[in-house]
Symmetry: C2
Subunit: 304 residues, 2 copies
């Protein structure tokens, strides 16, 4: 099952040096989940061939403009391009008020259902649970209410050992039960333990998206052992005071968080406009957690 | 005096084919006047080196998203980049409500004065009158209240004929009065007519910005004889019914408007997403009005 993330925006606060405000497109089994939607996200989607028609879920972390100002434009374009199927939108309660006001004055009635779910930034909650993925909110610590999002692949079915089933002439109608972990009892009454007929599937993979936040251990347990951790790294650690003041994280801290929470890999982004080049941020995070990459726009990272 | 317009966005409704929603930067005597501000305008400004710090006036024609969704992002960036001087914003009354709501929830208090003037789309009004330019609204005919903007260079002072003034020993303190068109009376009481001592300056130049609108003669008189007419040309004329239905103009109509209003030159833009290439639109407008150009993004057009 495909599980990968494409970076559409990596800049904090303002666009600069060809970097755009935050947005990411997560592909899970060929369905797209858009995470944040800074100004220009729809232009970035065109640039990197990310199809709006394949997005059914959008998640907005918080109401700072660099995380949502592209949303009304994207919704308008979906509407103008003939979208009819529902779109599920998750974000702070006031987001709906902002959208409604803008569509009111543009006299736009969306031609598709926009199903909005308000997020309570105070507690972790499951907000999506479908056949592919469970999505939980991650309460973060920012200047205004802000949540990250944890995407956990659904536990996969066990894999059948086809040769054994054929040797034993197991009827095909038992296969689904075997995949689910049940034992098999033959016509003659003999019981075959599930693990003699199947093998375990790969462990479910997971992606945690943490932006924007102060370094705060409150969410560490929830994101422990993720396959890929995206964590904001707005500043180098020599700007730690500024990071604290603005409720952001440094690259060094992001590395420490990945280490402490046993992430398999780390992706850093949300780079301050003060950094024209990003190598120092990468080096700093890697000094603590070597398996770190930069969230470069247009790059796709497999979650595996 | 510099008087030129740089195109930042040329697309109607949705960004496509590397075309962005509408925005233009008008440079009058090295001060920038931003006209409309579609999503991604601040990115386009970075791309084409249009400095936000040089903008003191922003004009929003109407509240369709493709004409203003980049505004809150631009204002935020001005704020974050330390702007202190006032910004004068002109647009539909509800624009202020939209901006205020978004800054309320992002908990942003702008560090510069945002001086907002609500436009009445029902009548032409002078909204700016400074030493360089007079700006009038142009009531247009769109689906929601919409105005264009007419920029008229201030009538310039007359040019002194230096040799004559020196021959006559006209005291320097009379020069300003002469430039303003007054006659000169010498110490001996002899009157010299102004036009014997000065020459007329160049005729004031003008720029009319008309987007979005149905073909409607109501605004033709107001824009007559402009140096450069920007007119929306969303469709080719084979889509005339669609143009009428959506309250837009065709390229042929734009050419006709330029012809009827005696524009010196015509610039067409606001191209529909149905046109990947623009030559047909240009050819159609030129078939009526040869002095037509396409509003290509990044291009600067001198108004002369």
């Amino acid at each position: 099952m495909k599980f990968e993330v494409t970076i559409l925006g990596s800049s904090s606060a303002t666009p600069i040096f060809n970097r755009n405000p935050t947005a990411q497109a997560l592909n899970i089994n060929e369905r797209l989940y858009l995470i944040d939607c800074g100004e220009g996200t729809q232009q970035q989607m065109l640039r990197f061939d990310v199809k709006a028609s394949r997005i059914d879920h959008i998640f907005i972390s918080h109401l700072h403009g660099d995380h949502y100002l592209g949303l009304v434009g994207l919704l308008s374009s979906m509407h103008l391009n003939g979208r009819k199927k529902a779109l599920y939108l998750f974000g702070p309660a006031h987001l709906k008020e902002i959208i409604d006001l803008q569509f009111k004055y543009s006299e736009t009635t969306l031609q598709f259902p926009l199903e909005f779910t308000a997020i309570d930034a105070q507690k972790a909650e499951v907000i999506v649970n479908n056949s592919d993925v469970i999505v939980e909110t991650i309460p973060l610590d920012h200047r205004i209410p802000c949540t990250g999002f944890l995407f956990k692949e659904k536990k996969r079915l066990r894999k059948l050992i086809k040769e054994k089933l054929e040797d034993l002439n197991v009827p095909v109608e038992y296969y689904t039960a075997l995949k689910r972990g049940n034992d098999y009892t033959s016509a003659s009454g003999k019981v075959y333990k599930n693990d003699t007929l199947t093998t375990d599937s790969q462990a479910p993979k997971s992606y945690a998206y943490c932006s924007d936040t102060l370094y705060n251990e409150q969410y560490f347990e929830q994101i422990s052992n993720v396959t890929l951790l995206y964590h904001e790294s707005t500043f180098l650690n020599d700007m730690l005071d500024r990071a604290k003041e603005t409720h952001h994280t440094t690259a060094l801290q992001a590395g420490e968080i990945a280490l402490k929470t046993h992430a398999r890999r780390l992706l850093i982004g949300h780079f301050s406009a003060r950094y024209k080049t990003l190598n120092e941020l990468l080096d700093e995070a890697r000094s603590v957690f070597p398996e770190t990459e930069l969230a470069i726009e247009g790059k796709t990272f497999a979650i595996e």
